[in-house]
């Protein structure tokens, strides 16, 4: 669902999307540490409801899918399905070293590996686990990407820009 950035309603929509990112948390087979740090973000100390972030149980209501942990073979189809259930526009934040590249579990027999082998990831967060303030930073980065995508009319421009950069580097 892309909106034009020229009309009033389009600008209103872009504003609203930036102000109300609802998240759903998915543990794709990690060790829990990132999950409890994400939940700690929702708690009084950090209280991300200040930014309008709500944790929703149903992926149908969510804008941002927060994935924690390295993807195990059993969880990979589930992860894919949850991502497919989300309505557009949807964004994915992969939290922690495991989600980014397998971390300490890379190469084990029951691992698929990083999250971006299963679904496209918009923001990676480093750390094992990241502190809550680092997770908030990542959400801010993701909101920045949302605003930029609104200007470009979708997230396709980012992959295109990357491939162009690669082509230039090769040439």
């Amino acid at each position: 669902m892309t909106v034009s950035n020229r009309t009033f309603s389009g600008r209103l929509m872009t504003w609203a999307r930036g102000k109300s990112p609802w998240v759903t948390i998915f543990n794709s087979g990690g060790c829990n540490a990132c999950d409890i740090e994400i939940i700690a973000c929702l708690m009084p100390r950090f209280d991300v409801e200040r930014f309008g972030i709500l944790s929703r149980g149903s992926p149908r209501h969510a804008d941002i899918l927060i994935v924690t942990g390295a993807v195990t073979r059993q969880q990979a189809p589930r992860l894919r399905r949850v991502w497919e259930q989300m309505p557009e526009p949807k964004y994915v934040i992969a939290v922690g070293a495991c989600a980014a590249g397998g971390g300490v579990f890379q190469g084990l027999y029951h691992m698929v590996g990083s999250v971006d082998q299963v679904i496209p990831v918009d923001v990676f967060v480093a750390g094992c686990p990241p502190r809550p303030d680092e997770i908030i930073n990542a959400v801010v980065t993701c909101l920045g990407l949302m605003a930029e995508d609104a200007v470009h009319g979708g997230r396709a421009w980012r992959t295109k820009a990357t491939s162009e950069a690669v082509a230039e580097a090769i040439a």
Binding site: C31, N32, R45, L108, P129
Partner: protein
């Protein structure tokens, strides 16, 4: 009414971790339960056989994010026993301090989650707010909020400076007051009590026969605690009590856990005040002699046991991890049958399940088929972005 199957998990708001219950209900009443545990099976035991003792500890620690120190300690304790290395008293005290702080944060986390499962979000927020004080202490002492990485074979990695000890002691009075407040809240919040009292009842005999461990068993009056019955570290030197209760239900488990937070606070304070001097690690040999050991430890959720076999190299030949959650699942299944659907989250949460710990083995119901929801046997090959 026809029977309906309510799948709970692997992605479900009540469970932060992947597990799948197929709850067969008759209306709202549960008549059968099928469990599928190993969604987060990663193959840690196999990987542990391929890494030397230095590199294996961070891996063992990441068996579970909540009781990370438990797994690392029980593993290094076993290796040290095989090697015949006696770790210095200061290291023992530091390990105990971290272990008890971890127990406090885990129980506070549990109290919040249990309140959240029954929709009491205010207590959820408050316990997690107060838990931050424990996490701050842990971060100051160890350098990370969750994975402390304090252990190494032969001792601990980091020493505590006097200023750190002072700062940690300064946080204790606030926590003490908060624990008193929780006791009051759990006693007089009526709606929460109606959800906790008489739910998930487990008699002493049932707890013993199902092999329940940890607070689940202690709430049923089973006076079993590895720290008392098979003392390790410094638990036989310091004053503390095993907390038991006779209610046997979720309410009893809540009372046991709150009591244990208070006990842990006492232990931490005692250890910080009586911290002995001296070195923090003993020289450990690189390789361990051949041997077998069953190392036991009282994790926040109950008894965790590591069976370790070494073969004279710098690696383990086999490590087998048996976690408290696995011991408690059978009692959960027993408690759930006949209860309304609304009690599923409370009863499951009452044992404080840790599924990343438990995903060691796969339970297959004998004679039953896995159903169409079963995941495909092979991985997600062929997917592209």
């Amino acid at each position: 009414m026809t029977r309906i199957v309510v799948p709970i998990g692997p992605q479900h708001p009540a469970l932060k971790e992947p597990v799948n219950f197929r709850v067969v209900t008759d209306g709202e009443r549960i008549v059968d339960l099928e469990l599928n545990l190993s969604y987060s099976h990663r193959g840690i035991e196999k990987a542990a056989e391929q890494r030397d003792f230095i590199r294996v500890l961070p891996l063992i620690e990441r068996v579970c994010g909540i009781c990370s120190h438990s797994h690392a300690t029980v593993f290094s304790k076993g290796i040290e026993e095989i090697m015949g290395v006696e770790i210095p008293p200061r290291a023992q005290y530091i390990r105990t301090i971290i272990a008890e702080l971890e127990r406090m944060h885990s129980h506070m986390l549990w109290l919040g989650v249990a309140a959240h499962e029954v929709g009491f979000n205010t207590l959820f927020m408050w316990t997690w707010r107060d838990r931050e004080a424990v996490l701050d202490t842990l971060e100051e002492l160890s350098g990370n909020r969750v994975h402390y990485n304090m252990n190494e074979i032969g001792g601990v990695r980091l020493d505590l400076s006097p200023s750190q000890v002072e700062a940690a002691l300064a946080r204790m009075p606030v926590l003490e007051e908060r624990i008193r407040a929780y006791v009051g809240m759990v006693e007089d919040e009526e709606t929460m009590l109606t959800r906790f009292r008489g739910v998930g009842s487990l008699s002493r005999e049932e707890a013993l026969s199902f092999g329940a461990v940890g607070p689940t068993a202690r709430a049923s009056g089973v006076d079993y605690d590895v720290r008392k019955d098979d003392p390790y570290l410094v638990y036989d030197e310091i004053p503390w009590n095993v907390v038991t209760d006779t209610n046997g239900d979720v309410y009893g488990r809540t009372k046991v856990r709150i009591g244990e937070i208070a006990e842990s606070l006492g232990i931490v304070r005692h250890c910080l005040e009586n911290l002995p001097g001296g070195p923090i690690r003993a020289e450990a040999p690189k390789a361990a002699p051949p041997g077998e050991i069953l190392s036991r430890y009282e994790a926040p959720r109950g008894e965790v046991a590591h069976f370790i076999r070494t073969n004279g190299t710098a690696r383990v030949e086999r490590v087998d991890i048996r976690t408290p959650t696995l011991a408690n699942w059978t009692s959960v299944a027993h408690c759930l049958i006949g209860r309304p659907l609304a009690d599923v989250p409370v009863i499951v949460a009452a044992i404080d399940p840790c599924l990343s710990c438990t995903s060691r083995i796969t339970l297959v119901k004998s004679g039953g088929d896995l159903g169409k929801d079963a995941p495909p046997p092979n991985g997600p090959r062929g997917w592209s972005r």
